[in-house]
Symmetry: C2
């Protein structure tokens, strides 16, 4: 049986990805700027990681107008929530040794 | 106050590094091959990550001969153990949300 580290999900194998998913698990939907401020990130850093999570199907993106201003919000998808839960329990097993 | 993800230790921000430290925290000293087998890694992959942990001062390397054969063993340093404990508690705080 392969070592536990191989069961960890590569999509979450980075502090920014962990941070984004932790925020999205705790909130129904979050705007780009709220995510950026909550995690103290640059636009570019956050955008690249959120795009990767979206590509993996773990985050959904909705674009709407608030008044005349475009607004982008993110939410963890059903697959994202279950994959992240699995990642967390593997991490806990690994770290308990 | 900066978000928790910035308190995570970059030296451990990767599944292989987590795996190496988890094994070294549970064992006094471990040979390269034991680490490689325990974590199902290639020589190159393990060597690069162990070298980075050594450079960070978190892992100590001892080289000795067993009979005529050279043997390299690794151990978590005192700084490595305390830095890894801190990383784990930050990870737990982050994941508890």
């Amino acid at each position: 049986m392969k070592h536990l580290i191989h069961t960890l999900n590569k999509a979450f194998d980075n502090r920014v990805r962990l941070g984004v998913m932790a925020v999205l698990m705790a909130n129904e939907s979050v705007s780009f700027n709220e995510l950026k401020e909550a995690l103290d990130l640059t636009d570019g850093n956050l955008a690249s990681h959120v795009a990767a999570l979206e590509k993996a199907g773990y985050v959904t993106v909705s674009k709407q107008f608030i008044g005349k201003k475009p607004n982008t919000t993110y939410a963890a998808s059903v697959e994202g929530k279950s994959a992240f839960q699995e990642h967390l329990s593997t991490l806990e097993k690994l770290l308990r040794g």
